[in-house]
Amino acid sequence: MEFRLLETGFNDSFSNMAIDTAINTLHKPENPPTVRFYGWAPSAVSIGYFQSLKEEVEDEKCREKGIDVVRRLTGGGAVFHEKELTYSFVCSEKSELVSKNILESYKKICNSLVLGFKHLNLKASFVPLNDIVVKNQKISGNAQTRRNNNVLQHGTVLMEVDVDKMFSLLLVPDEKIKGKLIETVKQRVTSINNQLNRKVEFSEVSKAMKKGFEENFNAELIKGELTAEEAKLAEKIKKEKFSQKGWNYKR
């Protein structure tokens, strides 16, 4: 079986979310599933579909620092995207590749990453609903939505993590315990660089994850491009949705 592999490089947050959305919108059951690897430039905070931007993000501070803020199509929490590889996976909901059951499908898709981490000499495991951990510390967060009869799952693979910087951009419910919260998160989150004690390149991680997806789905990932239709729709969605205050501040 062949999948399409998209390596779209580093883009701003609005483009990144618009590209995932366009792929998911136009995917047909007869098309090969798509795996996309990407990064964020500038760095960005993404918030979950059900979160309130005003309640979660220091949006003024982000603006001052040139950090994008965007609402995702998917649920879950706020994420600071900086030194990471982000992936997205799109297939038809009817596909036998993933279960109708949401928990099962998270497990299946996340197993691609678990296998990918193996190629980086890291022993990772899936923790329901949507995390991947190494030595009990989170190294990847994932989120899924099902729209247009397709499954879209995207997630992070942390190459390096800066918890202090992340919390300087996020609001917490109780300022008094922010320090304590930061310490807890530092103990619970890790990164590839941390675990390997060296700096990995984006390309090294994407190669490992490519192998992980291939092994997990017994498929070959063939490098492709966005179709003209996808690129055009992504531009439109970026302009009309993800870059709009009406979308980002909608809750």
Binding site: Y49, F50, S52, E55, G75, I102, L129, T145, R146, R251
Partner: protein, 93 residues
Amino acid sequence: MIGKSVYKIPEGKLVKISLDFKEEKINFVRITGDFFLHPENGLELIEQELKGTELEKESIIQSIQKTVEKNSLDLFGLNPKGIADAILKAKGD
């Protein structure tokens, strides 16, 4: 009357509520948080259905349950009882 709450659902996620109510009935409620709900438009359906519902635990749970069942919603990190407790906390109970 307006109320707000932040409530950690036992075994679940942190839910934030903005509530507007009058004479013990919900005028408007907004539920936010880092949970998952499929399909996503289901949350707005839950919020709409809650309008006019009495601010009483069983009535709120029933209203949410009805929307969840009618629309086959899948909830992760939240549940009708948890949402009801969060709403009642916003009311000041």
